[in-house]
């Protein structure tokens, strides 16, 4: 039995940061990289399944689509007990959007053939919330997003789960395996990865693959394989709030003037 987990080395920002010269991202010096918070939970969930059912061997495999700077995130997962770590990358993958990432993840999933595929609901930096579900789309597997509780016995043909909906509602689902689940914060209490654990994990191998190794063509990757492209990244100007005075007609007139000014028409 195998669980494959999508991992992302997410970026937090130092308080004062600068935008990169090309205006499409933040200058790397200001990056504070760490394992995406949601992924801590999906890994923990996999580890719990592994540990609760000690009689059935469960293999927990982490995969990331990123350059080697993300090795640290994988090491953290290995330190927490993941069995294997895979990283797929080459330069052609630069500029991938969530869908291109998902295509690569799906290709790894086909190769690894897991019983369950976990991803975080979203990443703490870009917050697209798209990758996990797009993987399900590529694979054509059953899927569920924002999973808040999970019942699964290794080897079972299906998984029972609870999702959180808006307005305080919950939904219980039963999905056939293999399935793609995106895991919500709070589903468990992620364990601490001690620094020694991480250092020891540095000795464990990370399997590195190129897109070709998982059957991807160059135009499946990077900007050519993406539907979206970052045009520019910027700090929005400080907005002003203004209360429009007068009767409705006066307010409407003032509002129209503001709109005209903003749109330049």
């Amino acid at each position: 039995m195998k669980i494959l987990i999508a991992i992302k080395q997410a970026i937090a920002l130092d308080e004062d940061f600068e935008i990169r010269a090309d205006g499409r991202d933040i200058e790397e010096d200001f990056f504070l990289p760490d394992l995406n918070e949601w992924d801590e939970y999906s890994l923990e969930e996999a580890m719990l399944i592994k540990e609760r059912h000690a009689d059935t061997p469960v293999e927990v495999v982490c995969v990331t689509i990123a350059p080697d700077s993300a090795d640290e995130a994988l090491r953290k997962c290995l330190a927490k007990g993941a069995d294997r770590a895979i990283r797929v990358w080459d330069e052609s993958m630069e500029g991938s959007d969530p869908v291109a990432i998902a295509r690569a993840l799906a290709a790894v999933a086909k190769k690894e053939a897991p019983d369950l595929f976990f991803a975080g609901v979203q990443s703490s930096d870009h917050a697209h919330g798209a990758t996990g579900i797009a993987v399900a789309g590529f694979l054509g597997w059953a899927h569920s997003a924002v999973v808040a509780r999970l019942d699964y016995t290794p080897g079972a043909k299906e998984v029972v789960l609870k999702r959180e909906l808006e307005g305080g509602l919950s939904q219980e689902l039963r999905l056939p395996c293999p399935a793609v689940l995106t895991i919500q914060l709070g589903i468990n209490k992620p364990r601490y990865a001690s620094l020694r654990g991480m250092k020891l994990a540095a000795a464990k191998p990370i399997e590195t693959l190129a897109p070709g190794d998982i059957g991807l063509a160059t135009n499946d990757c990077g900007e050519s394989g993406s539907l979206a492209r970052v045009r520019r990244m910027y700090v929005p100007e400080k907005q002003r709030a203004q209360i429009l005075a007068g009767d409705v007609a006066a307010q409407a007139k003032a509002l129209a003037a503001i709109i005209r000014e903003a749109t330049g028409s």
Binding site: A12, D14, E15, D16, K189, Y192, S194, L195
Partner: protein, 713 residues
Amino acid sequence: MSLDGGMMDPHAFTRILFQDFPSWEVSFFYLVGFAAIGSFIYGVYREVRKYLRGVPDARVIWDYAHIKQGIVAIATHRTLVRRDPYAGMAHRAIFYGFGVLFMGTSIITLEYDITSKLFGIHYWYGDFYLWFKLAMNIAGVSLVGGLIYMMVRRGWIKPPKLDYARPDRAPDAPDYDRSNYRIEDWLFLWILVIIGVSGFVLSGARMIWLADRPEVWDIRWWSPVGAFFAYGLRALGLDAEGAVILRQLIWWSHGALALTLISLIPYTKAKHIFTAIISLVVRDPLPAQRLPKVPEGQEQIGYRFLTDMSWKQLLHLDACTKCGRCHEACPARTTGGPLSPRDVILSLRELANSALQYSAVPEQSKLAMHGTGVGQVSSETLWACRTCMACVEICPVAVEHVPIIVQMRRALVEEGDMDPLLQKTLQTIHKSGNSFGESRRKRGGWAKGLPFPVKDARKEPVDVLWFVGDYASFDPRNQKVSQAFARLMHAAGIDFGILYDGESNAGNDIRRVGEEGLYEHLAESNISAMQSADFNRVVTTDPHSFNTIKNEYPDFGGQFEIEHYTSFVMKLIEEGRLTVKKQLGHRVTFHDPCHLGRFNKGYDAPRKLLEAIGCELVEMKRCKDNSFCCGAGGGRIWVPDPVGTEKPAQNRMREAASIEGLEVYVVSCPKDLTMFEDALKTTGYEGKFVVRELLEMLEEALEINLVEAEVTA
């Protein structure tokens, strides 16, 4: 009375052993004697085997200095009279009484069974015999007197520290009740008292029995207590014939009890005679100040199983005499936490006695130290410890609790068994190098608020490198103190600098949490930053950083001469580089920070400074080595104390408030300032007295008038 010039042969003055005993009785006595010795030897073997099941201890040094300090401690009873002088003196009386009596018995045995039989040498007669009798009488009085005090203490005085109730167990837990300890305590006392008193009765009975022999009766006052008993027994109507019977009876009970005691030593609390002595000899001079480094290449760290402990620590478990001094001193226990250092030791002792005392070492599950079972230590107990070292410092037999607790925490950290907030803090420190989660770049931000630039020691050579530490760098209240210290050094013309973002958290508390990997990381990064700077010495306002840089960085290759600001400033005043211009005239009390006082014996400098600035110092009852931790140590500053219980800092505020007319509660540690200013508010003493950092008072008294700029950080 002396035998000089007497008419009798001095050889007549002796005691004939087994006088008038039928030979079967003598043989029987020898048989019992050998059985007792056999039992003793087997017991010792069993104990030694138990200790050797621990790992070797690289920090035990058998050299002259160590052995000497141990022997001096034992001979003077220095560690026993502390904070309990009467019990200490009573123990001294018992120790010397027992020791002399034991030696006396050995001297007799040596002559009777060895020198006389093998070489025909006799020495136990004449003058020597008389003085010997006198010495034995005094020793007997000393023994019995000490024991009686101990009985009174246990039976009537009942100091709370002798209460074995445990704060870490529910009353219905199987190992809550410690009645067997109490039975053992009393049995031990009674056996010893009876041995002592029966010795005197025996001596008195012999005098009556042989009263017609001048070589016995004429020298009766050489054993004054014996003679006293002889008169007493006679007054009760005992004649020579009765004395023969009484003597026989008492002789056997005295002998039987003494042999029983010997045979039981390795199996009962009496073994502390040996374990305590060895424990004192092998004591570590820096038990909590310098925590054990993980040996190169060792993968598993921390203690999980009894056999992970060193032989010395297993021996420590048996050295504990349940005196309760650590129990009394512990801030966690005092404020109702689920921890008593005594009970940590006793639990593990019970576990070791059930698991390691048999011919084979059981499977690992029986050796597990963590847990809530009998003899195990729970994670709540371990996390309650503030590594303040109060326990280690006061233990009369040199039990070192803190390294055991930290080693067990290391295992908890590896397993991730810790408060989520602590986990977050550790991650924050790993990521940003400080516990505030602030950007590294802002570490030196407080210095921008000064009217002069603070040198960057990474860029230019300085005389004094100031290691600032997290709290003094980032906490807004403490930033003010840091600025005060900068102004003070500036005024004294010190050439100083800081490492700015090259500095990270010093790691002292992280190490005490048990996150050894993160500590190694921080220590190595600070050491390399310091080594690439050019300076002569280091100063810090933070006792925590002070301790680890002074005592622990050397293990990682960082040898630096470091001083805490208190002694540093005191020297500046003594050298005349700073002059006190104003006498403050406050009535103050001083809180010794654990890491400055107990850890590094920096008791005097702050007191001298207070005197120099004209403050009247009124000590709290718990001061200097007995200072009461503010509760922040061991990483506990990052974990909130449970609501509804008194915090250590609040307990301390109440203590300070009991000082008549107190104006200032003086601290000299950034964490103390934070903890006590908070506790002052929550205890409602605000307005009665204030909490001030000694540095700020110094600045006022030295009248360092630099324009104070706002912190722009």
